[in-house]
């Protein structure tokens, strides 16, 4: 069996891996200097994103391929959508890295490990959507997941014991979920091979249609854990709240790319999906958005609210996949990109505000009157929330909602469309509630802590992400 390896094509995945190795080597060579490690990681992520960027401009049908078999099938193939997801994953990881920079550069011994784990998980997330066979898919998913468990558990050693214990709790929740979901995925993969006789994902010709259906349902359930779709979402709120804030941002964005990437691979491979799988996806989507939004409606903590909003948004990402439309996959991808930009911006601001308050307070109350006290942070946060809610002036969020709804309406799945419509309204209530806190009168003056300086890098992130959303709102061409 001959194998054509185009190693350079896999640079988006390879660059973070190489950077991870470099970081570990550097740790042995250079003692005490943390900035070097962080810089190496940043360069690795940038190189990866730079390598994936040309793929975004590919025409329809073209793809960058590697590890091609003699039969013409490739184990790694990145077309326009996959490249866009890779860019999003790598840049998202970069944002998280910048966000965690002050903590990690001060932390001491753990930095190289943490950075290497982050890079490893990102490499996994970048490789999932490009996977061309079940083996690559499973390995990539686990590469994207397992390091995050450690990232959640490895907290700041200066934290109080009780707080650190809770982090471990969150990590255990994540670990248990990962194991269960891996079990389901492995089971699904086995059934898949049994049904089609091959581990390759390119257009399976089912010998056993019933078995293939069973396989796809198992894989779907396994992936639903990763996207944190209801009823597989139980870990999300626990883990999000206990993990360090930048890691939570990572879980909410980059990890989602991995999960959605896997779903994209699955939906593409199944081609004309049968009705049962569609119904399963539709149910997952409808449940996720409804439960996520309703629970988010009563949260009083910004991170908890974002965690539940993630569950709801996962439903929106799944929504177009519940239709037979050829645009479905692109619609889900577009929605995910907009969601990532909005969520990252929200997290960056939440982190900046939490750092400025005593004890890292992330409650909504701590943000009361932010528009008056810190308008330069509050307005971008407002923009991010409006994007997630899908309300103008953040037209980009509105367009994303339109894109996600269109395949469903085109398919005539009216019950799902109406559930989604109701959820638009509940979702708006969720984010507007937060917005109202930002606009509200400032809390009693005594509590306002002396504001600590917000680092330039955070301002850079806020400015870049806001600019991205504003440009996306004026010219929403980025929507695929």
């Amino acid at each position: 069996m001959s194998l054509e390896v185009h190693l350079l094509s896999t640079l988006p995945v390879l660059a973070p891996v190489v950077a991870a190795v470099l970081v570990l080597v550097l740790d042995a060579l250079v003692l005490g200097r943390r900035t070097v490690h962080l810089a190496t990681a940043a360069v690795g992520l940038l190189v990866g994103a730079g390598a994936a960027l040309p793929g975004v401009l590919l025409g329809a049908g073209d793809s960058v391929q590697a590890f091609c078999l003699a039969s013409g099938e490739c184990l790694y193939a990145a077309d326009r959508l996959v490249s866009a997801l890779q860019v999003a994953a790598l840049l998202g990881a970069l944002v998280v890295l910048v966000l965690a920079w002050p903590e990690w550069s001060a932390e001491g011994d753990r930095t190289p490990v943490v950075v290497a784990l982050l890079l490893g998980a990102t490499a996994g997330a970048a490789s999932v959507p490009a996977a061309g066979d079940l083996g690559t898919l499973l390995v990539s998913i686990e590469l994207a997941t397992l390091p995050t468990v450690v990232l959640v558990a490895l907290t700041d050693p200066r934290w109080a014991g009780e707080r650190r214990a809770r982090s471990v709790e969150g990590a255990v929740a994540l670990l248990t979920t990962s194991l269960v979901s891996f079990g389901l995925l492995a089971m699904g993969a086995a059934l898949w091979v049994a049904a089609t006789g091959t581990a390759l994902l390119g257009a399976p010709t089912a010998r056993e249609p019933v078995l293939l259906l069973l396989a796809s349902v198992f894989v779907l359930a396994g992936l639903a854990f990763k996207v944190s779709a209801v009823p597989f979402h139980a870990w999300t709120p626990i883990t999000y709240v206990t993990a360090p804030l930048p890691i939570t941002a990572y879980l909410a964005t980059v990890s989602k790319v991995a999960a959605l990437g896997a779903l994209v691979v699955l939906v593409r491979a199944l081609g004309a999906v049968d009705d049962t799988t569609l119904l399963a996806v539709a149910l997952l989507a409808a449940l996720s958005m409804t439960v996520g939004n309703i629970v988010a409606l009563v949260q009083t903590d910004a991170v908890r609210l974002l965690a539940w909003s993630t569950v709801a948004q996962a439903g929106w990402v799944l929504l177009p996949l519940a239709s037979l439309s050829s645009r479905a996959v692109h619609a889900a991808g577009s929605y995910l990109l907009v969601y990532i930009a909005g969520t990252l911006l929200a997290f960056v601001v939440v982190v900046a505000v939490a750092r400025a308050t005593r004890g890292g307070d992330t409650s909504l109350e701590a943000q009361r009157g932010l528009v008056r006290s810190r308008p330069l942070l509050a307005l971008p946060l407002g923009l991010a929330l409006l994007t997630l809610a899908g309300l103008p002036p953040a037209v980009v969020g509105l367009v994303a909602k339109v894109v996600a709804l269109r395949p469903v309406v085109g398919d005539g799945t009216w019950w799902l469309a109406v559930v989604a419509a109701v959820n638009v309204a509940i979702g708006i209530a969720v984010y507007v509630r937060w917005l109202a806190v930002l606009l509200g009168p400032t809390g009693s003056g005594a509590e306002v802590a002396p504001q600590r300086h917000t680092p330039v890098a955070v301002w850079g992130l806020v400015a870049t992400l806001s600019a991205l959303l504003v440009v996306g709102s004026i010219v929403p061409v980025g929507v695929l």
Partner: protein, 535 residues
């Protein structure tokens, strides 16, 4: 007469240079630029004074009104690809259906920015021992003040106007939806932050937002359904197709979804419950914009997105729609007879007037549609006028409750009183004023509906609507009796200040002009109405 008017319009158009799409830019750009400027300036450590802010805002709306006038005369068309992935074009144009509403929006936005923002005084707690003592309230300040957040307030007014203009100008379904939604956040801010602190303004604001969003998302589903069936989002293409290629069953579903979404916005009975509450809470200018402009988005949506696009589906639901419209007329009129809050009363009367508009739309005849479009504009002018008066009174009185004994307006504030009489008279539908033609036309159209409408039902609707018209006279008299007539002169209130006088003159002159010369408006809409009815 019609020919002479057309000639006159042509002669006027020849006098005004045709700047093409620059007119569109003039209509929209000042609003956006000044709104952004005000938002930024409001965050500045040294916020600009109230004179500067109001001057900026009024300049922006006046410039925009000039642009709208130019657009109405020359009807330029702007077409740019906007979202290639969805096939959406940035298509801005004006036709007979939208021009009256564009002009109405422009006028009302000038009025809204002219008005002062009054900050209601904090609620006074009367000690129990003093409860029986008649308190003379201090004479409130009705002139401009340096209110915190005044820049944001004016920016929100401008953004609401901008969204409405975009929606009325939109030649593309998705763009219409964007304009429709653009209005929501600024309006929410207006109610939640600048509304009456004595009431549950957060609740009112969020209710407004929720209801509108549910409505607009349902509308979006309908729009996407039509877009999938026709393969385009171009509104003029939709109107040309007249529902070809959409099977009757799908038309029925699409029309139902679209009508339900738009009925929440208009609002049609029984989906109207949010409106009185929001009106009672919103600041005066917010009420003016809400009644005169935002509600029109719903009726305009029916004319633009439902009647020509899914005609068979619409004629299926029209009898029900007409029935609900008439029920709204009667129901709201009855509510007006007992409503104790003057501002809520005017809101109820809005629901009644829009019931006539809906009835006209449902009749499916050219007369009905003409009457509906006319009623739209007439209601916009009358309700704006009434809300300016009543909002001013509410501030002067401290509340709008009718059970409290007040000085009779005829004695205490004759100017405000005169404008109130004019507004109420127009609202009663007296001939010679704007309200008359829309309502008489709607009743007439319901009596002789289109061929495919159930005759019997519509005749019943016509009779019921006529009864509703009589009830309008009754509640109008009630308002005048309780507020305007009488001999009481205490407690004194200041009469209309200059800005109010200017605003009321603009609106009052238009109410009379449109009432005396209805052809002014009917000529503009006629050609488009024929195209919409399509027979």
């Amino acid at each position: 007469m019609t020919d002479r008017l057309t000639d006159l319009a042509r002669a006027t158009a020849a006098l005004v240079p045709d700047l093409g799409t620059a007119w569109l830019a003039l209509a929209l750009a000042p609003l956006l630029l000044v709104a952004v400027t005000l938002l930024v300036a409001g965050r500045w450590p040294t916020a600009p004074g109230h004179t500067t802010i109001r001057a900026l805002a009024v300049t922006a709306t006046s410039a925009s009104a000039l642009g709208v006038a130019g657009v109405a005369l020359h009807r330029p068309v702007l077409e740019l690809p906007w979202i290639p992935g969805l096939g959406v074009w940035l298509r801005l144009q004006a036709d007979g259906l939208s021009i009256p509403l564009l002009l109405l929006t422009a006028v009302v936005s000038v009025v809204a920015t002219l008005l002062h923002l009054h900050v209601p005084p904090p609620a006074r707690h009367t000690p129990v021992s003093d409860e029986d003592v008649a308190v003379t309230s201090p004479i409130p300040d009705v002139r401009s003040l340096d209110v915190p957040g005044l820049a944001t307030y004016h920016a929100c007014l401008l953004l609401v106007t901008l969204g409405a203009l975009v929606a009325f100008l939109a030649g593309d379904a998705i763009l219409f939806f964007v304009g429709f939604e653009l209005v929501l956040v600024p309006m929410w801010v207006l109610v939640a932050r600048y509304g009456d602190p004595g009431s549950d303004r957060d609740g009112a604001a969020i209710r407004f937002l929720m209801v509108t969003v549910i409505g607009s998302t349902l509308m979006l589903l309908g729009l996407l359904g039509v877009a999938t069936a026709t393969g385009t989002t171009d509104l003029s293409r939709w109107a040309e197709l007249r529902g070809q290629g959409i099977p009757p069953a799908a038309q029925a579903v699409l029309a139902a979804v679209l009508l339900l979404g738009l009925a929440l916005k208009i609002p049609v009975f029984p989906l109207h419950t949010w409106l009185p509450w929001v009106h009672a809470t919103a600041p005066t200018a917010g009420s003016v914009l809400l009644a005169a402009v935002l509600l029109k988005l719903g009726t305009y949506g029916i004319v633009r997105l439902v009647i020509p696009v899914v005609p068979e589906g619409f004629s299926l639901w029209a009898p029900l729609l007409g029935g609900l419209g008439v029920t709204g007329v009667i129901w709201a009129a009855l509510a007006c007879l007992v409503e104790p809050d003057l501002k809520r009363l005017i809101a109820w009367s809005s629901i009644a007037h829009l019931g006539f508009v809906v009835l006209g739309l449902a009749s499916g005849t050219q007369t009905g549609l003409q009457a509906a479009l006319f009623g739209n504009v007439a209601h916009g002018l009358i309700s704006a006028l009434l809300f300016v008066v009543v909002g001013g009174l509410k501030h002067r009185w401290g509340s709008a409750h009718l059970s409290v004994a007040r000085a009779a307006l005829r004695e205490g504030a004759p100017r405000l009183g005169a404008w109130l009489v004019l507004g109420i008279a127009a609202s009663m539908g007296l001939p010679g004023l704007a309200g008359f033609w829309g309502e008489i036309g709607a009743v007439y159209a319901a009596w002789t509906p289109a061929a495919d409408r159930p005759d019997g039902w519509f005749r019943l609707y016509a009779v019921a609507a006529a009864v509703g018209g009589a009830l309008a006279v009754a509640y109008g008299v009630r308002v005048l009796h309780e507020v305007w007539s009488g001999d009481r002169v205490e407690p004194r209130i200041p009469d209309a200040v200059r800005t109010e006088r200017v605003a009321l003159r603009i609106l009052g002159v238009l109410v009379v002009a449109v009432g005396v010369l209805p052809v002014l408006l009917l000529t503009v809409t006629e050609a488009s109405v024929v195209a919409v009815i399509g027979r």
